[in-house]
């Protein structure tokens, strides 16, 4: 099957800034793909290149098998992009905006078109604002219209560049419900976000970008397993020391000890050891692996792998870089 998105050795400079320094990745059809990275990592540049808004210095990009340069018109038909910047055309109402956007894609004025526009409005909770002028909408509502505009032509590949920045909790949930249902219907979704819990719960695969390079690319589950672990966090009563066999496995952080484990059955012996040594606990909690920890570790670089050996595997991030 052709990839939904195929990025090959893509490079782009802006003056002295190397925004993309040889990025390669593949997004499979039907995937919910996360593109993560700190500010300035190159996420938006990559999306812009995908959409033909930025011309590449080298490399190739295909969307559903269509080259974004040589076959740009077909490539753009396959693609719906929600831009990061909050932009709008102040001359038109919400419905006019969507109808015009349909026309740009050559969609005729039919009942089916109007029904689809109504459905999008409904799902994004915009129905009551359909005839309001764009200028009169709040920032979060403008953001929803941007999402709606990206969907008018039912693109097989949907790219959302920080769609939830400045959006309230309720809408975030309705938005993800809607995007998830589109994903279930077979649309490929690519998402950038700085809310890592969001990415963790939505994305099946994740690429992490840093300074224009892919520094990690794997399924969300594998990333969590490799870079983050379950950990038992213990806070000991003042003056209490950790027994030596445990201390050798534990790490101290902010006055608490953290002991990594793989299986829940490993907790029992630890607690037994504590009890046997008469250690008084002030607090105890079980931390689950989370993407934020993965992100921080990956961004700090290869040297800073999870030290306990538990859960971290020996492969370096770049060796799993390009997966088919």
């Amino acid at each position: 099957m052709t990839s939904a998105i195929r990025v090959q050795q893509v490079a782009k400079r802006f003056g002295s800034v190397e925004a993309l320094a040889g990025v390669s990745l593949d997004v499979r059809q039907g995937e919910f793909f996360g593109l993560l990275g700190p500010n300035g990592a190159g996420k938006t540049t990559l999306i812009s290149a995908l959409a033909g808004l930025v011309r590449l210095d080298s490399g190739h990009i295909e969307v559903m098998g269509c080259d974004v340069v040589s076959d740009y018109r077909n490539a753009r038909r396959q693609l719906g992009v929600v831009p990061q910047e909050l932009v709008f055309d102040p001359f038109f109402s919400v419905r006019e905006t969507l109808k015009i956007q349909c026309g740009y894609f050559g969609i005729r004025q039919t009942r089916a078109r109007d029904a689809w526009i109504d459905e999008i409005l409904e799902n994004l909770d915009l129905t009551s604002k359909a005839n309001a002028n764009m200028r009169s909408l709040s920032g979060g509502m403008k953001r929803r219209v941007l999402v709606a505009q990206a969907l008018v032509h039912k693109p097989p590949v949907i790219v959302l560049d920080e769609p939830t920045a400045g959006v309230d909790v309720e809408l975030r949930q309705t938005l993800w419900q809607f995007i998830r249902s589109l994903n279930r219907d077979g649309h490929t979704v690519v998402l950038t976000t700085h809310y890592l819990e969001e990415a963790e719960s939505l994305c099946t695969r994740i690429a992490m970008l840093k300074a224009g390079r892919v520094v990690a690319l794997d399924t969300t589950a594998n990333l969590l397993r490799r870079f983050s672990v379950h950990a038992l966090r213990l806070k000991l009563a003042p003056g209490v020391m950790l027994p030596p066999p445990l201390a050798s496995r534990a790490q101290e952080k902010e006055g608490a000890w953290s002991i990594a484990f793989d299986q829940y059955s490993e907790i029992e012996p630890v607690l037994a050891e504590l009890r046997a040594n008469g250690c008084v606990l002030e607090d105890l909690e079980i931390g689950k692996p989370d993407l934020e920890e993965v992100f921080v570790r990956v961004m700090r670089g290869k040297e800073d792998r999870f030290p306990s050996g538990v859960g971290a595997d020996a492969r370096s991030p770049s060796s799993v870089g390009v997966t088919g």
């Binding site: 808004l53 932009v87 055309d89 001359f91 015009i100 349909c102 026309g103």
Partner: protein
């Protein structure tokens, strides 16, 4: 040509929604010019044997308004959508650069023609007008409007800020239109300035346009037609080239 009809429609709707400012206001400006200049100069200036100065002035004003508004439409639409970022709504869809060009130029032409027709209608009260050879009127209105619309596309794409566009307008478009024989026949100029006027393409647009009304002009309308058509072809090629490369639109 998918996308063209909608982009054209959107561009027309854009100025039509604020029609008072984009169509009515320039008509009123042209009327003020007519009132003042014809009042001051009617008895003093005589250009052609059979034509009163006011009648001579009307086609010039019509054409000047047409040209300036065609330019204003495409240039201001582009710079606005660039500055606000909403330009990406037309850059993301599969609209070819030719469709893009045609939509912006034709919509600007519609605005120019609307203003021109408005000025013509409004001035009918002030001067009896003849329509000696109407095909010339049409030809020069369409060609001239398209040229300025094209220039507007170039200016709108080139300018990054509103003041750069204003500079383009004040230092290029205004002198070209004002120094083109709108208010006088260039035969009344000293020889040096007559020579200079012959390098101004807008002079030929207005002279040819005026020929359509009176059947007389400073130079042959055929000569004007060739010059104006050549300008349009060259400018179109330049504009299409810019759009194709994505100059200043695609980073």
């Amino acid at each position: 040509m998918s996308g063209f009809p909608t982009l054209f429609y959107k561009e027309v709707l854009r100025f039509w929604k604020v029609g008072f400012q984009t169509v009515a206001a320039p008509v009123i400006t042209a009327l003020l010019y007519l009132l003042i200049f014809s009042h001051v100069l009617e008895s003093r200036v005589h250009v052609y044997e059979t034509v009163s100065y006011t009648a001579f002035l009307v086609p010039g004003l019509v054409m000047m308004s047409l040209l300036q508004n065609a330019f204003a439409n495409s240039s201001s639409s582009l710079i606005q959508s660039k500055v606000t970022g909403s330009i990406i709504f037309v850059l993301l869809p599969p609209i070819s650069y030719r469709a893009f060009y045609l939509a912006y130029v034709l919509a600007a032409l519609v605005r120019g023609l609307s203003v021109g027709a408005g000025v013509l209608l409004a001035t009918l009260w002030f001067a009896p007008l003849q329509f000696a050879e109407p095909l010339w009127i049409l030809a020069f209105a369409l060609l001239g409007g398209s040229i300025l619309a094209s220039l507007g596309v170039i200016a709108g794409i080139w300018a990054d800020k509103f003041d750069q566009l204003a500079a383009f307008q004040n230092f290029l478009i205004m002198p070209l239109t004002f120094l083109s024989g709108v208010f006088y026949s260039i035969h009344s100029l000293p020889p040096f300035w007559q020579q200079v006027s012959h390098w101004n393409p807008v002079f030929y647009m207005i002279d040819g346009f005026r020929h359509g009304f009176f059947g007389v002009s400073d130079v042959s309308p055929w000569q004007s037609l060739v010059i104006v058509a050549t300008c349009l072809v060259l400018l179109s090629m330049l504009t299409l080239g810019m759009l194709k490369r994505g100059y200043k639109l695609r980073a």
